[in-house]
């Protein structure tokens, strides 16, 4: 879970852990890339507006490196153009804030276990 708002990160992690997922958190692009290298997650929940390179750039970088895990982008900016940019960067799903936590969990479920 990569999100610079610590409260939101904590809430999302608690909800995902309740759903049975094991989570690690990061608050920046560097921490996100390091966590992917170290933990090889099934999916990454990635905020677009994070310090340093944006979540979009992180996603683009991961896909360029051949990473095939799921990417769920979350953002407070959720115009059609923002969604299209995320999809073009390789995101599997996009959720605009504020979103129901249940919707996030089901989105992660769909990305990690599509069937």
């Amino acid at each position: 879970m990569v999100e610079d708002d610590r409260k939101l990160a904590r809430i999302v992690v608690r909800m995902l852990e309740r759903a049975g997922y094991r989570c690690v958190t990061g608050a920046s692009a560097d921490q996100a890339l390091r966590a992917v290298d170290e933990h090889h997650p099934d999916a990454i929940v990635l905020d677009v507006m994070i310090p340093g390179p944006t979540g979009i750039e992180v996603c683009r970088h991961l896909r360029a490196d051949g990473w095939v895990g799921g990417v769920i982008m979350i953002s407070a900016r959720s115009s059609p153009a923002d969604r299209a940019t995320a999809t073009a960067a390789g995101a599997d799903a996009f959720l605009g804030k504020p979103f129901p936590l249940a919707q996030l969990v089901s989105t992660v479920d769909n990305v990690v276990r599509p069937h």
Partner: protein, 460 residues
């Protein structure tokens, strides 16, 4: 300031024509007077020469031009003897005091004639008067010709000046019209565009620079406003997301006392309401800032309407029907393409259906009808309709009809957003009561997008 009835070009041509009329009128008057004066002096001088000749002792002439006589003060013609005198008794009396010049008909010369008489010295111990007479028909004729020429040439010259002024004004204003046309195509979605700068340093080039400076200032203001809205969206949505998440987490705790569970459910509802209000205000702000310009995207209004209708929760017992009416040149199954993102057209449909669902008794009818260059989207219900006092301000922000319509509603932004989005997409919206279901009826007209597959025909 009231708009002027005529264009600047027409007014300049009319002003030039008026100026030419005044100049030509004054010039013609001066020319007429001067020419008349000069010709009159020439005739008088001719008579004076004849009279001088008589005074010098020459015999009286009786040429085709001048008739001359010597008359004594009793009125008898001394030379040429036996002819009737050219002067009347009164004129003889007057000439005895000096020289007279008289224009009057003279028998044998005509009705246009001039007499010049001068008293001479003694002639055989008796005072005599030398008188010459000549026709002034040539003067009259010349004056008539001059009037004719001026009367014919004046209007021709005036029209010529007006046409020349029209052409010159057109040539001078062409760059201005061109810049106005270019400026009219710059929408809020293209705030970075500038007018092509006319070369040189004349007034038109100065106007171009001034307009481009103004566009730059507008771009800065709009960019600032858009950045503010984006920042506001981010700063508002994130704490709402945290608040919602905290409530959701708490609500998922096991074994909550019922009052706490109820409070958390209520808090979650209010948080969602706060989130909707925030989204609605942000949408309005974006529409006001020109961020919702349609661009190149097109949307099938029928598909958008069917999808959006399914996303609107309606109370039990209320049914909704979506009808696609065939247009004059459109088949019923063809898509109805309008400009803009599906998100915006869907937002319009959701707000209209949501508003109708709040007041309908049992039915909502949504019709999509292509008509010419526009498509008409009508959402009608069988509820009590808009109160007459609300109709004129149905699309105002925070305008609510709840008191009159008996049910609690939203914040009063739904129809205001419909109006803003419709305007942003180049359309218009009206509200009324009556047919087809007897309740409220909101009609949205949106411009059809051009359809590449229809070879220039309006898209259906």
């Amino acid at each position: 300031m009231a708009p002027r009835a005529f264009s600047l070009r027409v007014r300049l041509a009319a002003l030039a024509a008026l100026g030419s009329v005044i100049v030509l009128g004054i010039g013609s008057l001066l020319l007429y007077q001067d020419l008349s004066h000069q010709l009159s002096i020439a005739i008088t001088n001719e008579l004076a020469v004849a009279v001088d000749d008589l005074a010098g002792g020459a015999p009286p002439v009786d040429s085709a031009l001048v008739t001359a006589q010597l008359i004594d003060l009793s009125g008898e013609v001394r030379a040429p003897a036996g002819e009737p005198p050219l002067l009347t008794a009164e004129e003889l009396a007057e000439v005895s005091r000096g020289q007279i010049v008289v224009d009057r008909p003279v028998p044998g010369i005509g009705k246009d004639a001039r007499l010049l008489a001068r008293r001479l010295g003694q002639s055989g111990g008796e005072q005599v008067v030398a008188v010459g007479a000549t026709s002034t028909a040539s003067l009259t004729h010349a004056r008539g010709r001059l009037v004719l020429v001026l009367a014919l040439a004046g209007p021709v010259l005036t029209v010529g000046v007006a046409v020349a002024a029209w052409l010159l004004a057109g040539a001078a204003l062409r760059p201005v019209r061109w810049m106005a046309g270019e400026a009219a195509t710059i929408s809020a979605a293209q705030v970075g565009r500038r007018l092509p700068q006319p070369p040189g340093g004349d007034e038109v080039a100065q106007l171009g620079r001034t307009l481009n400076d103004m566009l730059a200032r507008i771009e800065r203001a709009i960019t600032h406003e858009r950045a503010f809205i984006d920042d506001a969206a981010h700063e508002l949505r994130t704490p709402i997301a945290v608040l919602r998440g905290e409530i959701e987490l708490a609500a998922h705790e096991p074994d909550l006392p019922p009052p706490v569970a109820e409070s958390l459910a209520s808090a979650l509802e209010e948080t969602d309401r706060l989130a909707r209000l925030t989204e609605n205000l942000l949408t309005l702000a974006r529409a006001d800032a020109g961020q919702l310009a349609p661009g190149d995207a097109t949307t099938d209004l029928v598909a958008a309407a069917r999808t959006s209708v399914r996303r609107v929760p309606l109370a039990d017992g209320i049914s909704i029907e979506v009808r696609r009416q065939p247009g004059p040149s459109c088949q019923e199954r063809e898509p109805v393409l309008v400009r803009g993102e599906q998100e915006w057209t869907g937002h319009i449909v959701r707000n209209l259906v949501g508003n109708a669902g709040r007041y309908a008794r049992s039915r909502i009818l949504l019709t999509v009808t292509p008509e010419g260059r526009y498509v008409r989207l009508v959402v009608a219900d069988d509820g009590p309709g808009f109160p007459p006092s609300v109709l004129p301000r149905a699309f105002d922000r925070f305008a609510r009809a709840d008191d009159a319509r008996g049910q609690p509603g939203g914040a009063g932004l739904g129809l205001a957003i419909v109006a803003s989005l419709t305007r942003a997409l180049g359309g218009r919206v009206t509200a009324s009561n009556g047919a087809p279901l007897g309740g409220a009826r909101v009609e949205v007209e949106l411009p059809l997008a051009s359809h590449p597959g229809l070879m220039g025909r309006d898209a259906c």
